[in-house]
């Protein structure tokens, strides 16, 4: 049998039907992964490339994702400028073209970055409509070096994905009980102020405290079960908060299943079991 520690590279693959894009982005974000996520459904393919948990590059099917095409579609270049760039063929890559356009004053650096960011976000939003499709994450395939790589935080994309989650059943699976509470994750890189939340979501955030159960927050904000679940799910998936038991309902101290014994006898008994298991 091959040792599990021998495995050089583990798989990260499955079907979006079973593990959604929101969950995948959550995983990539929290694990700060670098690599490329390949997605394929019956009609199309897409690639999302990440560096340290941030979205750097994306491509959807055979669509032209050159910088010139993105700027043209964003109306930052006119048809003549776009045609002129195309006629030059592949003489320069996107990074070189971007530099040329900025230096020549056709576009500003901010416009280039904003257009690329919008393009990446549009691709992710389109992928949210995929209910099925196989995925595979290749950590050896880094974002292409000849393209302009962004460092797009995933939190807002994840929250957007959670907002689109229509299936009540899945929300109930994800947040089975409203008796749990939320608490902010202890992550130095997380910045709540950068989140693009709706008014309703901000109101939930203002109530986040290990003492407040989701049920209490929902009652205070007059939200129904589905609404509070959806907001909580988005915040959890974005890695901003984590679910905890409300402080007043913390479980009682350990009561091992060894009746009528002192703590010393219990420990001795466990040590006997350990000895026996070792000898098996």
């Amino acid at each position: 049998m091959p040792s599990v520690t021998d495995a050089v590279k583990m798989a990260l693959k499955g079907n979006l039907r079973d593990f959604s894009l929101t969950q995948l982005l959550n995983l990539i974000h929290l694990a700060k992964k670098s690599g490329t996520l390949f997605l394929e459904d019956s009609k199309s393919k897409a690639w999302l490339a990440f560096r340290e948990g941030k979205l750097a590059y994306a491509k959807y099917g055979d669509e032209d994702n050159s910088l010139a095409a993105i700027l043209y579609n964003a109306r930052k270049l006119n048809a003549n400028q776009f045609r002129a760039i195309q006629e030059r063929g592949n003489s320069m890559n996107d990074k070189e073209l971007g530099l040329l356009l900025v230096n020549a004053g056709y576009v500003s650096q901010q416009e280039v970055l904003a257009s690329l960011q919008d393009y990446l976000m549009t691709i992710v939003q389109r992928l949210y409509s995929w209910m099925e499709g196989v995925f595979y994450f290749d950590s050896d395939r880094l974002p292409p070096s000849d393209k302009i790589n962004l460092r797009l935080n995933l939190e807002n994309l994840i929250i957007e994905g959670a907002r689109r989650l229509k299936e009540v059943e899945q929300l109930q699976d994800e947040i089975p009980s409203l008796d749990i509470a939320l608490k902010f994750r202890d992550r130095p890189d997380a910045n709540v102020r950068d989140l693009r939340l709706s008014k309703e979501e901000w109101r939930v955030v203002s109530f986040i405290n290990p003492k407040n159960s989701l049920k209490q927050i929902a009652q205070a904000l007059k939200m129904n079960d589905i609404e509070i679940r959806r907001v909580a799910y988005g915040l959890v998936q974005a890695g901003v908060v984590e679910m905890v038991r409300p402080e007043k309902t913390l479980p009682r101290p350990i009561t091992p299943g060894i009746p009528n014994t002192t703590p010393q006898e219990q420990a001795s008994l466990v040590r006997r079991i350990i000895q026996r298991i070792r000898s098996l």
Binding site: V4, I254, T255, G257, I273, I274, I277, L280
Partner: protein
Amino acid sequence: MQTVKMVVTGPFNAGKTAFIRTVSEIDVVSTERKITKESEKVKATTTVAMDFGRITIDEDLVLYLFGTPGQRRFDFMWEILSEGMLGFIVMVDSCRPETFREARSILETFRAYAPTPYIVAANKQDLKDAWDLEDMRIALRLDSTVKILPCVATDKESVKTILLELLYQILQEMEDGAT
């Protein structure tokens, strides 16, 4: 004769029965039935009540391993089985991300029954489609303090490692509680 028990739980087809069979000194008393539901035909049979394995520790002490039925429709058995357990193991199939949500839910259910120590065993880590442990930790939303260990339920050494890790944790919590 004193008896103690540990519970092996987890989603359908996670490898609970195999885990218990690998270390039990008796033929596992298994209540398996043929699967009739089309959607669950990943394997031929499933546990409908419980699996039951045994390890004699010494002349005065016996450890029982109880495997819970993996399908949610038999969850009425879970609470009964968890009564008085020393700790529990949550088996998860590392190659089937579609079961991770269910595993999370089972874990939460058992934690609510009894706040006893537990460990997550990422089974089938010898297969090429197995997910990385740290990816599974995030997908299962496990706190960094929760142990998730690689496992191959058919391999005795691997099963022993899981049991021992759980026992060390039980001992540690007992000692922490005593001080």
